[in-house]
């Protein structure tokens, strides 16, 4: 064992930098350069500008409380009754109080109707709407939005809970810039202690989602206002006509708003906690759905962002291009890299793979530690997550990559998202026919 480790390190020192770069180009040029160096640079600039941002933020908050607009909090869902009481109570604690709470029951077949009617009667829900026949998440959200009265519409998921100032924090950005059409909230993993799968997702959320969205928002290429916690200007929703059929409707509406010229920003201080899938099997199901939407929406439905027409915007081009490049193309490239290694460096595989794992693990540690300095909210001490960091190589590098590859194949060749039971067939069939 000791001999093998000695041999491994002697080999590294003997190979030389140019050959190392040739073997590990994928890591050096994409993973390390894009996801560490580039993001770190942006984060540093973002941090340096914090004092100015704070002043603007304070002004925006003042304007918000002078105007005190009505905010419509809409919660569409099916069979979510069990979560609604908790959610209603968490909303009662909000620092911003001028909001109407609308729950839309999308054809639930459990106690949801009974629970929500009781909560409405007791004043915990302002408006309860029910579709006796399930229409899908988009139609439920559209129903809530149609009968809401607020100047700003906040879309929540029923199974999430919110910081007591979450509503206030997510609507302040609308007073920073009139061009802002939507604001995405910061999502933390609530059940990170419940299983290994949930813990790994918590690390992923804090890196890729929280920190990743700070940088993309700062660069103006933020592309996904999460359905779990997102705020929309009514005027902007009116212009796009609300949500289109999913799955992936939150990413879709973000692109639609971007195409109309609205700015989309991420608000790291507006915190929502969600429960993530606790088993890898459930996670696969969720991620297959998420990943298919890249093909369905970015590559197909919104491919016009790449066309040099009258509505062309460089930021939209970069936003979609970056998303497609780093998720879709690099995923394909990763398989090419794998083949490259197997074909050209067969004899070195015993060295290449451990070294790759070593590199990625070191990178993960470095990223997690350094980025922690920029994270505004953490759901636990970083020490808690350290023992799990070595597993992120397998989680990110193999598990998620494999799921993503399967999703891309399924959607690209078979348009499987239109068959997803997440959305009722009656509307998916039309969406497929119309190519949306």
């Amino acid at each position: 064992m000791i001999e093998a480790v000695d041999g491994f390190f002697s080999y590294i020192s003997a190979v030389g930098p140019s050959k190392l770069l040739r073997i590990f180009w994928f890591f050096v040029f994409f993973e390390f350069a894009r996801f560490f160096i580039f993001e770190l640079t942006v984060l540093i600039i973002w941090k340096l500008r914090e004092p100015q941002r704070k002043e603007r933020y304070a002004n925006a908050r003042r304007r918000l409380f002078i105007e005190r607009p009505l905010v419509s909090v809409i919660v569409p869902g099916k069979n979510e009754g069990k979560h609604i009481y908790k959610l209603a109570n968490s909303l009662k604690e909000q620092s911003y109080t001028n909001f109407e709470f609308i729950v839309i029951d999308d054809g639930s077949d459990d106690d949801t109707e009974r629970i929500c009617k009781s909560l409405q009667k007791n004043g915990l829900i302002d408006l309860f709407l029910r579709n006796d026949v399930r229409g899908g998440k988009a139609s439920a959200a559209n129903l809530g939005y149609r009968f809401s009265k607020g100047k700003i519409v906040v879309h929540l998921d029923a199974d999430c809970s919110y910081d007591s100032d979450a509503i206030e924090k997510i609507i302040i950005p609308f007073y920073l810039d009139d061009a802002i059409g939507a604001v995405g909230g910061n999502i933390l993993v609530r059940n990170y202690k419940d299983s290994l799968c949930a813990t790994l997702q918590a690390i992923e959320y804090s890196d890729t989602i929280s920190v990743g969205r700070i940088t993309s928002s700062y660069l103006g290429i933020y592309r996904l206002v999460s359905g779990a916690f997102g705020a929309f200007k009514r005027e902007a929703l009116d212009r796009v006509g609300g949500w289109d059929i999913g799955p992936g409707l939150d990413g879709d509406i973000t692109v639609k708003l971007r195409k109309l010229g609205y700015l989309i920003v991420f608000e790291p201080d507006a915190v929502c906690q969600t429960s993530v899938p606790e088993t890898f099997r459930k996670l696969v199901k969720q991620r297959l759905r998420w990943d298919k939407s890249i093909i369905r929406f970015r590559v197909r439905k919104h491919r016009d962002v790449f066309y040099p027409n009258a509505t062309f915007r460089f930021s939209n081009f970069v936003s979609s291009a970056e998303n497609i490049t780093y998720n879709l193309l690099l995923n394909i490239k990763w398989w090419i890299y794998l083949v490259d290694m197997v074909v050209n460096y067969t004899s070195l595989l015993a060295f290449v793979f451990p070294f790759n794992i070593l590199l990625y693990t070191a990178n993960n540690f470095l990223k997690f530690m350094v980025f922690s300095l920029f994270r505004k909210r953490k759901n636990a001490s970083i020490v808690y997550f350290i023992p799990y960091l070595p597993l992120m190589v397998i989680y990110f590098g193999f598990y998620l990559r494999l799921v993503r590859s399967v999703a891309y194949v399924q959607e690209f060749f078979f348009k499987r998202s239109y068959k997803d039971s997440w959305n009722p067939a009656k509307s998916s069939n039309h969406a497929k026919k119309l190519g949306i």
Partner: protein, 480 residues
């Protein structure tokens, strides 16, 4: 006017008819004549040319406090008003002409004969007084049921003519209270017919049910279908899809025509708009406005009352001639070692929980029904009733353990909870108690045989105690 009718059998003179020695007063119009002046007549004949007139006259007699008035035989002539079930119920027959008067003589004699059998001791309470009147009437007319009839004049929409006649129309709620009391006293058994909802304020049943806005209580609402357009996911009121040019529905989001329900759109629900406050909601409130007192009440707060057809029990039938013996709630305080029914019921609920928690435990519910105890009470003076029951309780107490408890439901029913004793042993114990009570009565009241009926049941773990004991008592009383 004076004339002789029906083969010289009926003589008619100044509204007074005479036939076979019986005198009849013929009521044909409102007159200054007071009802009290009519005591001397054997029967009254009312000209039922008008329903209102007939009702008023009948009510004057039947609501009278004096037995000689409220039990007076009343016959109707002129069939116009006889369609009214209220009048029908409270009259003793219809004659086509005075020639038929001789045919009523037998009925009058029957009624008068039965009147002589009635018990006439003063009633101890209002309920007893009113119900005794009804029982007396039913006994003399051989009626065994109190049948509800729909009545527009009654505030609850129903009336029991024999009882209701004692009250004004707006007091019909009191009739239900008396019936509930009588049911509790096992004088009558209910048979469900209908259910009415009454105003929580005045107990009136004339209610106007309205769908109203939950925000402002206005009934001025507009209801619309919700339409869901499948291809674009838009969903809104159908008016969103209408245009001013044609009848085609167009989606306001994607401008497409809606062609085929179920294929490209559906109507998953409805939405209501309040025209008064502009509020939007799916579920309107239903409130009931009382026409009588104008109170607007949520339907959930209305008082629900069952309208039953009541059959007289044996106790009820006997009460007309034997008097009404009611449960004396003070008995429990005066007879040591007994509980009132409410406390007994609560303890039995605990007992049920105890036996549920430990499957090895069993409890027995024993009910004694002393079928003819009222005949015995008539023999002993009122002051001795409690001593007699006290003696029964002592016998029972001597045969059960100190942990068992006794309840005097009413003077004819005693219930016991026998804990942790096998069912067979409980039965043996009941037989022993029955023998001892029968012996006690035989020894002390010469030739009187008390009829003791009993029932032993395992305390149910699934059925509610109240329901279980109710069923047992019903079976015992009906069996006799």
């Amino acid at each position: 006017m004076e004339k002789t009718l029906a083969n010289n059998k009926v003589e008619f003179h100044d509204n007074v008819l005479t036939c076979f020695g019986k005198t009849f007063f013929y009521f044909e119009s409102f007159s200054s004549l007071k009802i009290d002046d009519l005591e001397k007549y054997d029967a009254i004949i009312i000209d039922a040319f008008d329903i209102e007139f007939t009702r008023i006259i009948i009510k004057k007699f039947r609501s009278h406090a004096g037995m000689e008035f409220y039990l007076k035989p009343l016959f109707l002539i002129n069939n116009k008003a006889t369609e009214d079930p209220y009048i029908k119920e409270l009259s003793d027959g219809i004659i086509i002409s005075f020639d038929q008067i001789p045919e009523t003589i037998n009925d009058i004699n029957q009624i008068n004969m039965k009147i002589t059998r009635l018990e006439t001791s003063p009633s101890s309470s209002f309920e007893i007084q009113v119900f005794k009147k009804a029982l007396n009437y039913m006994f003399t007319r051989e009626i065994n049921t109190l049948k509800p009839i729909t009545d527009i004049n009654s505030t609850i929409g129903y009336c029991y003519p024999v009882l209701s006649v004692n009250f004004d129309a707006f007091e019909e709620g009191k009739v239900l209270e008396i019936l509930e009391w009588a049911e509790k006293e096992h004088l009558i058994w209910p048979d469900f017919q209908d259910r009415v909802y009454l105003c929580s304020n005045c107990k009136g049943g004339h209610l106007s049910f309205r769908e109203i806005c939950p925000n402002c209580d206005s009934a001025n609402m507009r209801s619309e279908d919700l339409v869901h357009h499948f291809p674009c996911g838009y969903i809104g009121a159908i008016s969103d899809f209408k245009n001013n040019i044609d009848t085609v529905l167009n989606c306001p989001k994607c401008s497409k025509n809606l062609r085929h329900i179920g294929v490209d759109y559906d109507k998953p629900s409805v939405i209501n708009h309040c025209q008064n406050c502009n509020d939007v909601f799916q579920d309107y409130l239903v409130k009931a406005k009382c026409i009588q007192c104008k109170t607007d009440t949520d339907v959930q707060f209305l008082i629900s009352k069952d309208i039953n057809l009541y059959k007289l029990t044996k106790k009820g039938r006997n009460s007309a001639v034997g008097g009404i013996y009611t449960s004396d709630y003070e008995l429990n305080h005066e007879i040591a070692g007994t509980l009132d029914f409410k406390t007994f019921s609560t303890m039995m609920h605990y007992e049920q929980e105890r036996t549920k928690a430990n499957v090895t435990l069993t409890s027995n519910l024993v009910v004694f029904y002393f079928e003819n105890i009222f005949d015995l009470y008539k023999i002993v003076s009122k002051s001795k009733e409690k001593s007699l029951l006290g003696e029964f309780v002592t016998i029972i107490r001597d045969n059960i353990t100190p942990a068992d408890f006794i309840c005097i439901n009413n003077p004819s029913i005693i219930s016991i909870c026998v804990n942790d004793v096998a069912f067979e042993n409980a039965n043996l114990m009941v037989l022993k108690i029955t023998d001892m009570i029968e012996e006690l009565v035989r020894d002390n009241f010469e030739k009187f045989e008390i009829a003791v009926v009993s029932h032993v049941a395992l305390l149910s773990k699934s059925q509610s105690f109240d329901k279980q004991i109710q069923t047992i008592i019903k079976e015992l009383v009906e069996k006799t």
